[in-house]
């Protein structure tokens, strides 16, 4: 027990030496706001942009990143196999054939979050940072052990929040728990511009008046995301999708390739509604 306390607190900011890649945890507190979808799409967008990326599913027991990415049939080993020495890291990493610089390290499905040793997981993230430009960690919902494990090795955090009171409240809590040592940014997910205009949904400003985080991007609530998830094809790889472009824009902002302010999705004009059915 005592041994566990120290690695949880310390390595996050202090013990991790500066390595090559960036470890970014995608978190939210509340479940169902789109952490996994965000992780998958940002990973795909970053990889498509030329970076080497590994996606780590930290949601042990409720593995989903593999199916969202469409890689579920190719997972042979998972993160606990690696941590417990039953598989090498290279055995466990699944390469995405669509974007070969994208790898997935799946979570164990039949195990529990408490089975993951924080120090070992943190060390694994450190190893991955030596090998990849980006290590994106898909954090489980909640603020228990799974959360502390997922954030322990990350020096940056992306908080995903939908414009709902419950999501904002949980995001606020999570930001408090993330502490001071990390760079924390915000993605507002599933925004419905038409509802915002009518005053029926919190706006991006409303959300961020409360959270006060640097805004990384805004993703509209669009059918593309649902369709692409059904198919296991990240929408970020769909060149024709507006939401895909929003993910790619976020990826450019993460790499620093773009410094433009995030675009807030707008309502379609009457003309667009009349003639365009896409997106």
């Amino acid at each position: 027990m005592v041994n566990n306390v120290i690695p949880q607190e310390a390595p996050a900011t202090a013990a991790i030496p500066q390595k090559r890649g960036r470890a970014i945890v995608v978190t939210s507190g509340k479940g169902g706001v789109g952490k996994t979808t965000t992780t998958a799409n940002l990973g795909a967008a970053l990889a498509a942009g030329g970076a080497t990326v590994v996606l780590v599913d930290a949601d042990v027991g409720l593995r989903n990143l593999d199916i969202v990415l469409g890689l579920e049939a190719r997972v042979r080993h998972h993160v606990l196999d690696v941590l417990e020495g039953q598989a090498t890291l290279d055995d466990a990493l699944v390469t995405d054939k669509r974007v070969p610089s994208l790898r997935l390290l799946a979570a164990a499905q039949t195990r529990e979050k408490d089975d993951v040793d924080t120090a070992a997981f943190t060390e694994l993230i450190g190893t991955l940072r030596d090998r990849f430009d980006f290590v994106l960690i898909d954090c489980p919902a909640g603020i228990e052990k799974g959360f502390t494990n997922a954030i322990a090795g990350a020096d940056e955090a992306i908080v995903v929040c939908t414009p709902e009171v419950s999501a904002v409240r949980d995001a606020d809590r999570v930001v408090g728990l993330l502490g001071e040592g990390r760079k924390v940014t915000l993605i507002v997910n599933r925004l419905r511009p038409a509802l915002v205009r009518k005053g029926k949904m919190l706006s991006v400003d409303d959300v961020n008046d409360i959270l006060h985080l640097p805004l990384l991007g805004v993703i509209a609530d669009a059918p593309d995301v649902i369709v692409s998830t059904n198919r296991g094809e990240p929408v970020a790889l769909d060149a024709t999708s507006l939401v895909g472009e929003a993910y790619r824009a976020i990826a450019r902002r993460i790499t620093g390739a773009s410094t433009a302010a995030p675009e807030i999705p707008r309502e379609k004009t009457f003309f667009e509604k009349l003639f365009g059915s896409r997106s």
């Binding site: 409240r169 005053g199 008046d209």
Partner: protein, 155 residues
């Protein structure tokens, strides 16, 4: 149609209600994490005020509330009388600078007796949290976030 009438009669959009409710709940979320701080603050307040007047220590109440765009501390401290009781183990600077006259009130000291026992043991402990920050740094940061939250809202 219904919506149109609602707007016509100035009903608040639900998003505004959502935002307002969030502000309130986060305020209490943040404050409720430090009940010891509120308690220590209350005891300090009672201690200071009872140097000058007779306080009904048993019925004191300190709460935080949101008022318009600011957070207010509401202290309800019933005063039994303005007669200054004899200072108990006076903190530095109190006796010389205290207002003259009113040697002492025996009725007051009874009321004070209820207040003082808690004062000496809470006073030293109350020092660090008196600056509302709480035990750890991250909480302090979020709290400032909320206190700052109303500021950017220009409405």
């Amino acid at each position: 149609m219904f919506e149109f009438f609602n707007r016509l009669f100035g009903a608040k959009p639900s998003s505004a209600m959502a935002k307002e409710r969030l502000r309130l709940v986060l305020l209490s979320d943040h404050l409720s994490l430090a009940p010891d701080v509120v308690e220590a603050l209350k005891n300090d307040l009672i201690e200071v005020i009872s140097r000058y007047c007779e306080v009904d220590a048993a019925n004191c109440d300190v709460t935080f509330e949101r008022q318009d765009k600011q957070i207010a501390m509401l202290a309800n401290i019933p005063i039994l009388g303005m007669q200054r009781p004899k200072p108990p183990a006076p903190p530095p600077a109190t006796p010389p600078s205290a207002p003259p006259g009113l040697p002492d009130g025996n009725a007051a000291s009874a009321a004070l007796a209820t207040a003082t026992p808690s004062a000496p043991d809470t006073a030293p402990a109350a020092k660090p949290p008196a600056k509302p920050g709480g035990a750890n740094g991250r909480r302090r940061r979020r709290k400032q976030g909320v206190q700052g939250a109303p500021r950017p809202q220009p409405t």
